[in-house]
């Protein structure tokens, strides 16, 4: 590990040794577009001083160590008409200058170019990052999961329709190894009401996907990367509302608004609602004298409903704060559960409900003294979970519950349960940014969380589960303009302490208090070499850590998942190498990745009727390539294609692998994981069809997943191997945006009505239709 530490630490020490220059005068401000959206990567140039800067993700820029005097400042960005302003800089003062850039009417496709100004620049960060600019999908009835699934290096496996469990594979790692954030706050903290699988894109500005190497600003204990949902952030009043409806009684509504109440205060609100009966048809079996007979069943107990509402009240930007706001958010999920994980046994009464009430405060201030920024978040989320499985009926796929199958005990999905759990989650994040000089900056981030769980089980009630986690990071970014090289070096610190209970293995009954704590360090380094404006090379490395979560540490008593407070964190060496080429007409990106993970937490099958238990058992290695190309065939027609190949092999020795001490599976590819998949989209965008500012969009997309084995390739007769078959999912749609802020769209999912499986035996919806209407008023 020492060789990995050497380079970033040397860079850090070098940077810290740089002498600070006395500030004479400073200039700062925000650059936004006509709709009030902050613009990132706008070039800010004071010609006579040969000073340059660019705006950050909030549209903010700063130039310091300036000589007093009167100057002309020029603002320029691709797709916008340049703007120039004259300013008078005074000694020992910070001058504020904010501007609004107008779309360049000479470039008809400015909207597309504008959208890249945030997303494309983020994409050029030294880390291996993919960015989805969701703004171009606002008029489309797409979901967040759908967009993620079309991204190179990502495969999402869903277990059903709207609201169903979604497992995101990011360069091969998945599940808890990939962390999700919303504006830098862990999505898990927000509860099920704000989950990725139901998040409407209309509240999102962009999605940043960090593959393997995660910036310190996210405070993530992520083994395989992180996905940050960056929500919309405008400084002007607006309302954006949409409603879509479609097959299987699916309804989705979203409202976003922001209003400046008076010079001091503003209010904003975000709300959305999702409902679907998920009543699509599947091929199932029902028994006749015990013999299974094929039956085309309509899913009858799979309804999903959730709502989310967030109201924020804040103070308009002041000298001492860019934002100071308080918020309260309510969310809920009501979910029917239709079947077991392999869609073999129907359920008719199993339900899950969750309520969340999240309250918090946000403080942001950039450019304190010309160099220092602070971003703080403190919130508490109260969670209530209720799982009900109390019916003795056994349901068949035709929806009936014949008396002959009525049970005398046990639930439909496992033990009889009516379990209620109360959880109090508290989370604080402090992000500090310090601009050392024009080419160097330091970022420090601390994310601390506490988890307190209390359930209604008399056995576990005396032993409430508490979990305290801290993830701290220090990152140093240094640009070397002479060689067009950018380096980000970081150090991370992980810490958790837990308190709960263990269950005696001797009698499987006695509970006693347990306590554990662990600490770990991690490092990362990311380099970007801008060979030309259009050509980048990237390399990055992270020694990553994932801390075990509460379910792994303390199990789920009612489900007989036993505690194991002795679990160690998972660790992984993640390496990326990439090249990017982009012009206005075409672009390409190719990334190679390597992961070597250890201490992977897994609950092996147990011979016990009483428990399973998570252990640190597995090791794995992933190598792969993902790439994307786009080509603007004609100005209105763009083709995008990406592909991913990954090879996840076992590095677990025979004992830990449960293979009887043999190493038969060492270096073998893990089964039941997609290893080759691809996506493509053909997008036609025609402005001014009926009116000058209208916009017509037509799209077609397709996703391909190569077949893969359910179990290890080397086992079993070749002719009798079980496979997840090759999948081709197609979709298409059309949208039309009117100049007065309204848009309507129509889309078809699973165009060919193909039988789609993400998981073995678990059928996904067939062909479906969706209509969406949207209005945006500013």
């Amino acid at each position: 590990m020492s060789r990995f530490l050497t380079a970033p630490l040397a860079a850090l020490l070098f940077a810290l040794s740089l002498p600070a220059t006395a500030q004479v005068a400073a200039l700062t401000g925000v650059v936004s577009d006509a709709k009030g959206q902050p613009l990132q990567a706008v070039s800010v140039h004071i010609n006579t001083q040969e000073r340059r800067g660019t705006t950050d993700e909030n549209g903010r820029y700063w130039l310091y160590d300036l000589s007093p005097g009167t100057y002309l400042v020029r603002f320029s960005a691709v797709g916008f008409a340049p703007a120039e302003k004259e300013i008078d800089l005074k000694a020992h003062d910070t001058t504020r200058l904010s501007v609004v850039l107008q779309t360049d009417s000479r470039t008809l496709h400015a909207v597309t170019v504008v959208s890249r100004s945030n997303a494309a620049v983020a994409r050029e960060q030294p880390e291996n990052i993919a960015v989805i600019d969701t703004r171009k999908y606002y008029n489309r009835p797409e979901g967040t999961i759908s967009l993620l699934n079309q991204t190179a290096g990502i495969k999402v496996r869903q277990s059903g329709g709207v609201g169903s469990e979604a497992d995101v594979y990011l360069n091969g790692l998945s599940g808890k190894q990939v962390k999700f954030f919303i504006d830098g706050i862990p999505l898990q903290f927000m509860g099920a009401g704000l989950n990725l699988n139901i998040l409407p894109i209309n509240i999102i500005d962009r999605i940043e996907i960090y593959k393997g190497v995660v910036p310190v600003k996210l405070g993530a204990d992520a083994l395989g990367g992180a996905i940050d949902i960056v929500t919309r952030n405008t400084i002007k009043d607006y309302i954006d509302a949409s409603y879509s409806f479609g097959s299987f009684n699916t309804h989705q509504a979203t409202v976003n608004l922001r209003k400046k109440i008076n010079p001091l205060l503003f209010a904003s609100a975000t709300a959305f609602f999702n409902h679907s009966d998920n009543s699509y048809k599947v091929d199932a079996e029902i028994p006749v004298a015990g013999r299974p007979v094929p039956y085309r069943a309509r899913r009858f107990h799979d309804a999903y409903t959730n709502y989310y509402g967030n109201v924020k009240l804040g103070i308009n930007p002041r000298k001492w704060a860019d934002e100071l706001s308080v918020f309260t958010a309510l969310s809920a999920v009501n979910q029917q559960i239709q079947n077991d994980r392999f869609m073999r046994q129907a359920y008719g009464r199993v339900t899950y409900a969750e309520r969340n009430w999240n309250n918090g405060i946000i403080y942001k201030k950039s450019n304190i003294g010309g160099r220092f920024s602070v971003n703080a978040y403190l919130a508490q989320n109260r969670v209530y979970r209720h799982y009900i499985d109390t019916s003795l009926n056994t349901y068949l796929w035709d929806g009936t519950a014949p008396a002959q199958y009525r049970r005398s005990g046990g639930g439909e999905s496992g033990p009889l349960q009516n379990s209620e759990t109360d959880i109090v989650n508290t989370l604080g994040r402090l992000n500090l940014h310090y601009q050392v000089n024009e080419n160097a900056s330091l970022t420090a981030n601390v994310l601390a969380s506490s988890y307190d769980q209390q359930d209604n089980n008399p056995a576990t009630k005396p032993f409430p589960v508490k979990l305290r986690k801290k993830v701290a990071g220090l990152g140093f970014e240094q640009e070397f303009p002479s060689v067009r090289l950018t380096s980000i070096s970081s150090v991370k610190y992980y810490d958790f302490t837990t308190q709960g209970y263990i269950i005696s293995l001797a009698d499987n009954t006695s509970l006693s208090a347990a306590h554990a704590e662990k600490k770990r360090w991690g490092i990362s380094e990311a380099l970007r070499w801008r060979i030309r404006d259009s050509l980048l090379l990237k390399a990055s490395y992270e020694y990553a850590t994932r801390l075990p979560d509460e379910a792994e540490l303390f199990g789920i008593y009612a489900e007989r998942t036993y505690p194991n407070p002795a679990l160690l964190p998972e660790i992984s060496h993640n390496i990326n190498l990439g090249v990017q080429y982009s012009t206005a007409v075409a672009g390409a990106e190719l990334n190679g990745f390597y992961r070597r993970a250890d201490n992977i937490i897994y609950a092996p099958p147990s011979s016990s009727p009483f428990f399973i238990m998570y252990k640190n058992l597995l090791k794995g290695q992933i190598t792969g390539l993902d790439g994307e190309v786009y080509y603007r065939i004609i100005p209105t027609l763009k083709l995008t294609v990406n592909a991913t190949w990954q090879n996840y092999i076992s590095k677990t020795d025979g004992v830990d692998a449960g293979a009887g001490g043999t190493n038969n599976y060492y270096n073998e590819r893990l089964p039941n994981i997609p290893f080759l998949f691809s996506n493509g989209e053909l997008m036609y965008g025609k402005p001014g069809v009926f009116s000058k500012r209208d916009q017509l969009s037509v799209w077609y997309n397709a996703g391909y997943t190569h077949w893969f084995y359910l179990y290890w390739a080397k086992d079993g007769a070749a002719s009798q191997k079980l496979k997840i078959p090759e999948q081709v999912a197609q979709g298409c749609g059309v949208s039309y945006a009117f100049r007065d802020g309204y848009a309507v769209s129509f889309s078809v999912n699973n165009l060919a009505d193909a039988k789609l499986y993400d998981n073995y035996g678990v059928q996904r919806p067939g062909r479906s239709f969706q209509v969406k209407i949207r209005t945006f008023i500013q």
């Binding site: 099958p605 011979s607 449960g658 080397k714 007769a717 073995y760």
Partner: protein, 395 residues
């Protein structure tokens, strides 16, 4: 978000070997039973693969004149399954609701050929099968369905049910209907009751079913041991002696030792004059009962009593016992490694001279032979593709 319908379906029936997790859809089956192939004399199944993907493989063998066996010729099943055989067919009971029996015969190459499927919704698995004739068999189910399924093993169709509601105890959180043995028109089936804290009752229960009437005759109990919890596929708990006496092994609890009870031929009650306290005879609790000709019998002794379900590795050793004298001859071989005896401790008579048994450990998976005349053990077949969980000689 909590998704509770993941693993729990696999819980509550763990003693059925490693039949947990990873249940799934079955392959397309052939509803027309195929005739067996006389060339295939043995059916063998194993749990193959490594974490996190393991499942059961089954194949037929013409003979055992081999030193190693892989599963390259084996049929891959969609979930962990227990093996039962009758005549020339193998019946694999898959884990995961609905309870499923997949029937296979073998072609000349030993390849398993699907020959039908039987399902019972609401039950997690078939825990045990007892064959009476070509057209009559009984299967106990796990998962709360209080009945025994009567079916025709030839056509694989349900032909009746035996209601077990009379043996349900309302205060029991879980009830497991497990191993069975048919004798003299009666079916003897182990029943295990668990309280709200997942503790087994401190009593051994066996339900006696009158097969001619298809009804429960009575529930008999004995407090000298407890927890009749072995299903019989990969760990046997019922043994029928040549004279017709039925021996049943209780796992024991914290308050009752593991031991062997007897129901004498012609009787339907436990023999009050007979109890073999395995804990006292061997020094520790035991699991499993294998009885061969001339009173030759074996069990598997638990080494660390605090780890009966082997979270910390293999924890059982084979012990030779004498059911008649109620004594133990001790460990059959100190050279053998500890085995995963909570999952599999199969012993089958190979011929007049030897018994074949499974060694499943951290360091090897193999079939060993036990020489009846001198008690020597020797590795016979190395299982290179996983743990043997089913081995039967086909008739």
């Amino acid at each position: 978000m909590k998704k509770r319908n993941k693993i729990k379906a696999g819980l509550g029936y763990g003693a059925l070997a490693a039949a947990l997790l990873f249940g799934s859809c079955s392959k397309k089956d052939n509803p027309d039973p195929s005739p067996g192939n006389a060339a295939v004399k043995y059916a063998i199944s194993n749990v193959g693969g490594a974490y996190p993907s393991q499942t059961t493989y089954v194949q037929g063998l013409a003979n055992l004149d081999i030193t190693s066996l892989d599963n390259k010729n084996a049929a891959e099943l969609a979930s962990f399954s227990s093996q039962w055989t009758y005549n020339e067919a193998v019946y694999l009971t898959a884990f995961g609701a609905p309870a499923t029996i997949n029937k296979y015969t073998f072609d000349a190459s030993g390849r398993a050929v699907a020959a039908g499927k039987l399902i019972v919704p609401g039950a997690n698995t078939f825990s045990s099968i007892e064959f009476v004739s070509n057209t009559e068999a009984y299967a106990s189910v796990g998962g709360g369905l209080a009945k025994v399924i009567k079916f025709d093993p030839s056509s694989l169709q349900i032909t009746g049910e035996i209601d077990l509601s009379s043996v349900v105890k309302p205060d029991a959180l879980s009830i497991y209907y497990l191993g069975m043995k048919a004798r003299d028109g009666k079916l003897f089936m182990g029943v295990s009751y668990f309280d709200a804290d997942f503790n087994p009752y401190d009593t051994a229960y066996v339900v006696v079913i009158d097969l001619s009437q298809g009804k429960v005759e009575k529930l008999i109990k004995d407090e000298r041991t407890a927890n009749i919890f072995l299903a019989g596929s990969s760990v046997s708990g019922f043994a029928l002696a040549a004279n017709g006496d039925l021996y049943i092994q209780g796992q024991g609890t914290a308050n009752a030792p593991s031991g062997v009870l007897r129901i004498k031929k012609g009787e339907t009650n436990f023999d009050t004059a007979y109890f073999f306290d395995l804990k006292a005879a061997t020094g520790k609790d035991c699991s499993g009962l294998y009885l061969f000709d001339n009173g030759l019998a074996f069990t598997a002794q638990i080494q660390d009593p605090a780890d009966a379900y082997e979270m910390n590795g293999p924890n059982y050793r084979y012990y030779k016992i004498d059911l008649g004298n109620k004594t133990s001859s001790g460990d059959i071989s100190a050279a053998l490694p500890n085995i995963f005896g909570s999952s599999t401790s199969i012993m089958r008579k190979l011929d007049d001279a030897s018994v074949l048994f499974v060694v499943s450990s951290s360091s090897e998976n193999a079939l060993y032979s036990y020489n009846i005349s001198d008690g020597k053990v020797a590795r016979k077949i190395t299982m290179s593709s996983g743990t043997c969980t089913g081995f039967d000689k086909l008739k």
